[in-house]
Amino acid sequence: MKTDIILSGVGGQGILSIAAIIADAARKQGLNIKQAEVHGMSQRGGDVQSNLRISSNPIFSDLIEKGHADVIISMEPMEALRYAGNLSKEGWIISSSAPFINILNYPDVDKVLEELRRRRNVILLDIEALAKDNDVPRSSNVILLGAAAASLGINCEVLKGSLADFFSAKGEAVVTANMKAFEIGKQLAN
């Protein structure tokens, strides 16, 4: 198997946490991993992305070739659209529909969502609202992870195990909230 994933968002939205959970699950399944991250200046509210490649064969490049990404997981709709061209024809976009507006010239949100919906395989969720309504306010990124779970090529139970491990140091309540968030995303994506 091979899944090339682009994770995108705005600095501080927690895309690296999602990447770390997926990578850990892939590792537990004995898969090869390469994950290129962005550190430094752009983390101050700029656009950030990570290339996460998982494969049963050896992986050479740390970066994904243009037009070859299988999945885009984005915490922000315009940031999903920024990388949409990198997606393969059969690829999936799983994105938050709630804009993060920290620039003056943010485009018309409806147009952004419209462009995204024109893609073949798209899941758009208002993860911020879902997180609040379901009383898991700090776990919007894990709702997104749940929604993406089926498109990653990773065993869902293994993924949940890595999710629990990732939050275990923060106590049982945090783990429970994130498991709940994961299931919400997973159900909505079905």
Partner: protein, 529 residues
């Protein structure tokens, strides 16, 4: 200690290998994309391993050379421009030679994701006569760091370990090797080498140059340099460091002509000459500047065509990607991606609530009251004061240049001439310039915007915290013109007033707006929860 199947950044792989090589310490100043190496050692090494941040790269390199003198191993870490700061010490470390292994990790930043230039550190390795390692994978980063300490001690030279952003900041699985124990103190076999009087330096210069063929032979024999000419073709390919990954990606791991992977330098010229005898053209793929491409031309017969960044087959600037490498190999232009009109740039910005914002809000308005006022700024988060809504600075050049440029401009008649520098950058390279300004009584206003941390690189300790007033007094700034203020919106009038007064003062004044970084503050609050 963590072991077995590890998922590490390239920087972390180097750090783990340094720990496993028995280093006595890491010496470094933070700088993207190098910072995580030192942070890993701070987190995982034993307490007896020195890992506290240094004031700048030069103090780091010299301290590490001191470790080497007493026979122990040290790692030095920095970003590419940091090597400029410590170039004097680095070059002369080859002249003295080393005793304990000395490995210098330098992280280059092709495409300048977080940097002011795209310089290629391999040039420094060449002109200092130091061997260079350039890993292509995280596992190689680990293995080469281990090998670099051994080689350093074997040939008695520092070893430059060059990584690029895409390796430094990319994770993969690592399998470590058994760890070694730190050495005991033992002094150099040739203690006279360490006193670089001209008579010694002239001898050492000849000795180091005489070593070069032996070091090059090691590169030819190196297990990290792969030469395969089993498949004939009219074209040979040389791929350096991370370029090897993009080459393998493009050809699916299946070698289709003579190839040479270069990961250890000096350049293995004999292998390149052999390749040239078998092909009509050689494509050189390397990240950064055309360091190898240029040298290859001096090694091979003129009838063999050399292609690469200089020929235009690869972009002259910017980092390598799987796309531009594939295009160079296949001759088919890389795809141009459709971009939606509903995507706009999202540049980084100062955090909401950041104290630098309060400084710039005032400074922008006050400086606007003068027709010729200029603000010389420096390297750090506050460089973002260049962007809207502030547009409050006129220069950013190198660490510390704010104070010295303001001084020069004031000397030449500019008024007002203002410098904005962060706390960590001030101790890194600003203090000496302030002494120049005091000694010539230059009419400048220096703002040390103190957020109690090295913020841009992730909130490392800042060398001068709680010492700035004393430092400025010690340098000779008039105590009446050292002003400390808390940069919050409620103090706007007070900040405006201080700025006005100190700009009007014809001499050196220092204003220290001091408030903790929002990022480190938030982190502390999260820890308490």
């Amino acid at each position: 200690m963590i072991k077995s199947n590890l998922l590490l950044l390239g920087n972390e792989a180097v750090a783990l290998a340094a720990i496993d090589s028995g280093i006595s310490g890491v010496y470094a100043y933070p700088g993207t994309p190098s910072t995580e190496a030192t942070e890993f050692i701070q987190k995982y090494a034993s307490e007896s391993t020195h890992s506290r941040w240094c004031t700048n790269e030069k103090t780091a390199m010299e301290a590490a050379l001191g470790v080497s003198y007493v026979g122990k191993r040290a790692l030095v870490c920095m970003k590419h421009v940091g090597l400029n700061v410590c170039a004097d010490a680095f070059i002369n470390a080859s002249m003295t030679g080393v005793n304990g292994g000395l490995v210098v990790l330098v992280a280059d930043d092709p495409s300048m994701h977080s940097s002011q230039n795209e310089q290629d550190s391999r040039f420094y390795g060449k002109f200092s006569f130091a061997p260079i390692f350039e890993p292509s994978t995280q596992q190689e980063a680990y293995n080469m760091t281990r090998a670099a300490f051994e080689l350093s001690e074997e040939v008695g030279l520092p070893v430059l370990l060059r990584v690029v952003t895409r390796l430094a900041h990319s994770r993969a699985q690592i399998v470590p090797q058994p760890a070694q124990k730190p050495a005991d103190i033992h002094f150099p076999a040739n203690p006279g080498n360490w006193i670089l009087l001209p008579v010694v330096a002239r001898r050492r210069n000849n000795e180091v140059i005489a070593q070069q063929p032996m070091i090059e032979q090691k590169a030819i024999d190196s297990p990290f340099n792969i030469y395969d000419c089993s498949v004939p073709s009219k074209r040979g390919i040389i791929a350096c460091g991370i370029a090897w990954n993009y080459l393998m990606e493009a050809i699916g791991g299946k070698i289709c002509g003579p190839v040479l992977k270069v990961s250890q330098y000096p350049l293995p010229k004999a292998l390149i000459a052999d390749m040239a005898s078998k092909v009509d053209e050689i494509l050189v793929i390397e990240d950064g500047q055309p360091f190898v491409e240029d040298q290859v031309k001096g090694v091979i017969p003129g009838k063999v065509v050399v292609k690469g960044r200089l020929s235009g087959d690869l972009p002259r600037t910017g980092e390598l990607t799987p796309d531009n490498v594939k295009a160079a190999i296949t001759g088919v232009a890389e795809p141009v991606l459709e971009t939606s009109e509903y995507v706009v740039p999202r540049p980084p910005a100062l955090c909401q609530g950041c104290g630098h914002r309060d400084v710039y809000n005032s400074l922008k308005d006050i400086i606007a009251q003068y027709p010729n006022g200029k603000v010389f700024s420096d390297i750090g988060c506050y460089t973002l004061g260049a962007l809207p809504p502030f547009k409050a600075i006129n220069s950013t050049v190198d660490m510390g240049a704010s104070i010295t440029m303001a001084k020069g401009a004031a000397d030449a008649g500019l008024f007002p001439s203002v410098a904005v520098i962060g706390d960590s950058t001030f101790t890194h390279s600003g203090m000496t310039g302030l002494l120049d300004a005091v000694n010539s009584n230059s009419s400048i206003t220096v703002i040390i915007s103190d957020n109690l941390t090295t913020a841009m690189t992730g909130g490392q300790n800042s060398a001068g915290t709680n010492k700035f007033e004393q430092i400025c007094l010690g340098i000779g700034v008039d105590p009446a013109h050292i002003k400390v203020v808390t940069p919050v919106p409620a103090n706007r009038e007070q900040i405006d007033q201080i700025l006005k007064e100190e700009i009007e003062y014809r001499g050196v004044s220092v204003i220290i707006p001091r408030r903790e970084c929002m990022q480190t503050l938030a982190r502390k609050k999260r820890k308490k929860l």
